[in-house]
């Protein structure tokens, strides 16, 4: 069960990486922009 979870997680991450690599430059910039903001969301929610 543990191994299955790890495999699914790995597959998910690989899938996301593949989708990112296949995206156009504009989408990559959008993902990068959002990615930089995500760590602040928990703080922003409470202010």
């Amino acid at each position: 069960m543990k191994n299955l979870k790890k495999a699914l997680l790995l597959a998910g991450l690989l899938g996301m990486a593949a989708a990112y690599m296949a995206a156009d430059d504009s989408t990559k910039r959008y993902i990068a922009h959002i990615g930089k903001q995500v760590p602040y969301l928990p703080y922003r929610y409470f202010i």
């Binding site: 504009s26 989408t27 910039r29 959008y30 922009h33 959002i34 903001q37 995500v38 602040y40 969301l41 703080y43 922003r44 929610y45 409470f46 202010i47």
Partner: protein, 501 residues
Amino acid sequence: MADYDAIVIGAGLGGLTTASLLSKNGFKTLVLEQSDIIGGCCSTYESQGYRFDVGASIVEILHPMERFFELMGKRREDYIELLPCDPIYSFITEDGRRFSYPTDVDETTKVIESIAPEDVEGWKKFASLGFEMIDRMMDAMMLSPMKTVPEAMRMVIKNPEAMRFLPLLMRTHQAVTRKYYRNPVIQSSVAFQSYFAGAPPEIGSGIFGFIALTEHLGIYYPRGGMISIPEGLARAGEEHGLEVRTGRKVEKILLDGRKARGVLLEDGSEITSDIVVSNVNAKVAYLKMVGPENLPRWAVKAISSYRHSMPCPMIYVGLDTKPDLEAHHTVVTGSIEAMNKVWNDYYTKDLIPSTAMSLICWPTEADPSLAPEGHHILNFLCNAPAPYAPLGDNWDRIKGWYREEAIKSLERVVLPGIRDHITYMEVSTPLDFERRLLSPQGSIYGLFSDMTSLALFRPHARSRVVDGLYLTGSSTHLGGGVPTTIASGIITSGYILKDRG
């Protein structure tokens, strides 16, 4: 005993809406405005017989304004006269083609058919979904608080159809535009409005893609200039005892522990109140007026994480002739790719683009009384957006160069020979905006707006770190704009009335 029941810092639309509604509900309320004129970005100044709008140039989505007057028990028509503008926009494309979108939907269909017959079907689908959203969701989205998960859930439970439209928040403006339109000219005529929310099409939220549709419900110019709107809001409040003082700058929000107890003015005087409403930029309110030393560390991290919205130099032009324009607004724009390029290759690198989107507003088309007889005015936004700190220079030194570039741009693209007809010209740079409006970095829409800084993730109208402190205006839900900031004032006054009413 406190001097006032409520003090509002800043006489922008959000501040005046909140203050007037509190006055109507029996609160002894004072508005303190640092400038000599009220309205903030939605204001008008007079010079050499011309009346120029500082920033905001039109009003659309009248519902929040009508709702305000309804709550005040008054009629909007008695306070603000709105002149309809039609067509909505005139466009000048990269290859010099000109066309206009009228407010009438069927007439717009004909315009799209003449340019891109393949996009007529997309336009109809876009309009169908958009008008349904406006009809069912506009009230809920604009006038409901949506800062917390319970608030957002309440909104969705009351309006289950919201689930259909919420995915638009997660998509980009250009994704929504490209879903409905294939022709690059039509795409750019919709996508440019992403910059009205302060972001390029590849970052701006898809929900703003429907701004273009709300304009088909009508766009209006207030007689006497944009300042007529804040003047109308203030007058409605003054009839209930509201006091508005201009030329009074607030330095600090006074605290008793974590509780607001009033304000300290620049002249050293103190005015006390248990309720303080900030209509200034949220970063200024928390980091300068409250002070980081009075905030928990997580709150400092939260408020510091927001980026300011983009600045925009404005050029105010007086003419002794009628300009060769077709609409209240003329947009000079390129493709979606060009709009993104300006952001990525210029704005974020502190460079001023040589060609980019320009917006020419012609207020005397709607209201000739804004200029001497036979004269006209233009409010010109040239090659936007432009950075706050151009690389290796500052706006005070390059103002003259920018002024000349603006004239060349007007001559090249829009009005040949206009130089000989200019009787007045002033450039308001991002630095000027910062000085005049105390808007950090000259930001014109408060905080940057994307899906990570809207709704649940925008500063709360009821502070969670300082008791008795409330926020309103473009830094709160739903961001910058005339209808949105009036809506924010309605939401903020609602919180106060619930807490203290």
